[in-house]
Symmetry: none
Subunit: 90 residues, 2 copies
């Protein structure tokens, strides 16, 4: 996520930015870095930390919602759902 010296587009065989982001955040939820009920860092914070665009962050967050790991409240942020409240879509 931090190798932006080369082309911005994922080289052959590499995963998409938003997928890597979603996996990374999901891993942090799994390992307790972002515990249940806690608020995730803001979109702008993720763009700063991962050095990617807001577009990619939002795609990742959307993916995490789809997986049922978080819920997003406009004006507040995205929150980690407790395991028992997770209802993955699709």
């Amino acid at each position: 996520m931090t190798d932006h010296d080369g082309p911005r587009f994922p080289p052959r065989g590499r995963r998409l930015v938003w997928v890597m982001l979603a996996d990374e955040i999901a891993a942090r939820i799994e390992d307790g870095t972002y515990p249940p009920e806690s608020r995730l860092p803001a979109e702008t914070e993720f763009t700063a930390e991962f050095g990617c665009s807001r577009e990619s962050v939002r795609r990742a967050v959307k993916e995490l919602r789809r997986r049922g790991l978080i819920e997003t409240v406009p004006g507040k942020g995205s929150f980690v759902l407790p395991p028992e409240e997770r209802h993955p879509q699709a």
Copy 2:
């Protein structure tokens, strides 16, 4: 590579809104228009004066924080730091 070795954004010959804003506000701090300890105009006031979006204003304000010229207090506003208290980041 053809003739596109310059910055990819913005288009050649155009300055960024938030950079112009940051420079303008910084100049006003320098010349005493916004003296030490004083509160800057609200974000919405800047959007009105400069005819730009709040996002651009916020980027400019963030840049001024980075330069160590101001500090921001949620619910209150941004305040001009006295020269001796300025600690630019990065």
